[in-house]
């Protein structure tokens, strides 16, 4: 069991730059969109997102280890497609409510959005999404055939890849500029639209 952990660590560190690339389109808008003064407030979206990812990784890891197979079958692909669609909707709603709060729709929906904590939800959805490094990690877990090992493997993998996302905290400091916030909100809309298309596409094929 112990010997698989260095492997998870190494895998995480070597593919982390991809995590950076994959998570950046989702993280960046959240970090940029809202003005937060206190330091604890600045890291909050980062922590929420990370917590969401963590939860998703452990769950998927346990599931993959337990069932001994995940990738390749139709269920996972559909899961990825659906989570992308949900993520897309979340991003669009987030972008609309923060960027155009005067719209009727936005006034209706924003109380609910506050309750689900958008970055956390995005973290979960992003986590169950099968980005390339995640897929290789999952492939390793299949052969282990144990839920506990799978979860442990993914925890280490999570820790190693998170290192690469830390720079995003500094993006939070830019959000004091109103222009940067506007850019963050609009980019959330664009990312949402693109993910929506990709999600539909992956469900259709």
């Amino acid at each position: 069991m112990i010997e698989i952990l260095p492997r998870a660590l190494f895998l995480g560190l070597s593919t982390g730059i991809f995590c950076l690339g994959t998570c950046a389109p989702v993280m960046a808008p959240f970090m940029l969109s809202e003005e937060r003064s206190a330091y604890s407030e600045k890291v909050k979206p980062f922590l929420l997102f990370t917590a969401g990812r963590f939860l998703a990784y452990v769950l998927i890891g346990a599931l993959a280890g337990w069932t001994g197979g995940l990738a390749g079958n139709a269920l996972t692909r559909n899961l990825a497609g659906i989570s992308l669609l949900l993520l897309a909707m979340l991003m669009v709603i987030y972008g609309l409510t923060t960027g155009f709060p005067q719209l009727r729709f936005c006034r209706m929906i924003s109380p609910y959005l506050g309750r689900i904590r958008a970055p956390f939800a995005a973290g979960i959805l992003m986590g169950v999404n099968l980005c390339p490094p995640f897929l290789i990690a999952a492939a390793d877990v299949f052969v282990m055939g144990s839920a506990f090992n799978g979860a442990a493997f993914f925890m280490v993998f999570f820790a190693a890849t998170t290192v690469f996302l830390v720079p995003f905290i500094f993006l939070g400091y830019l959000s004091y500029l109103p222009a940067v916030r506007a850019v963050g909100r609009l980019s959330s809309l664009i990312v949402g639209a693109i993910y929506f298309f990709i999600g539909l596409n992956s469900l259709a094929s």
Binding site: G21, A28, V183, I194
Partner: protein, 396 residues
Amino acid sequence: MPEKTLINSHSRKTSVFLTALMAFLLAFLILGGNRDNPRMMAAGAVYLVFLTVITYLIFRTGMVGKYRSIFFATYAVGFSLSFIPMLIETRGSMFLSGEEILSLSAPLCHLTLPMIAIPAVVYGFLIFPTKLFSEMGFFPMLYLWLGATLFLGRGWCSWGCFYGGVDEFFSKLLPKKIVSSKNFNYTLRFFPYAFLLVIVLWAFIALEPVYCTWFCPFKAITEFIKPTNWLMWVQTGIFVSIFLGLVVVLPLLMKRRTQCGLFCPFGAFQAVIGQVNPYRVKIDGEKCTKCNTCVQQCPTFSLTEEAVSKGKSCISCTRCGKCMDVCPRGAIQYSLIGVPLRNSEKGGGFFGEVFRPDTLFIFGALLFGGVLSSGMVSTSLLRITNLAVNGSFLLK
């Protein structure tokens, strides 16, 4: 002669001097490169005359926005008229085929630079099918961009970009605007920056020039992949609608450069990086009466009420000169960072006029744009002559 003296105008003596100097430099740079091709030489000479006239009109009248716009639109028309027939001559159609991609012979344009930068640094590869040193390859384009950034900043978008001229062309066609921008939501002008952010990250994940594949409206006047499956039809639909909507219809209706001001991610990139250029457009708070004429007319939505009260244009300003043309009080001017605003009532004499920030900027910008455009406009002139004589745009 103009009825009122504009802030950018010059005395006759200074204008003649500046025009002569410009004509000399242009002749040296444009004609010097074509010494072995008499027909190009002749076409270049015609264009040289055109540029000289434009130079004189800009300096003498001070209507920078107006006469620059004639130059800029001519440039864009010249670009289209020389580039499309050139593609048809070399490959038979505007379609970019698989062989061209495999042989890396797609011409690169500046819009791709922000996208290919990060993968180039991380992996040491170009993610665009172009050669490193070919005529429209990576390094020549990079060099050109460095120069444009240094000399013009985002002024590139009003003095150098052949695509921007297309937008400008359509925004000038109708005499009056049909859709007023009174209720325009100024949040939208942040769209290009957001788009840039997404495009750059996405290109890095996909290792593909995603802007070119999915969005670039200017594929409509250059080259594009022939659609063969439904996904490609979606891509074609997207770029054609963006072209028609933001480059043709909205500029016609609003008389603004909607593509450049509200969409182009390279424009956003250039706005940020272009801050290294020392020129700025500033507004004299003492003269300005907050009439908002300039806010209503800035082609790229770079002036807001907030910006006017702060006394400077937003970073997206393309230094086009339009606001200076229309300001009834002459309160807006080209300026240099850290240099106090110029008092336009003072004449300043010959040297005073030559060493004015606006004079220096316009001279450099026009020289840069003039030489850059000369090849394209000259070839298009040859093609037009050929059309009149032999009935075809194609020279071969």
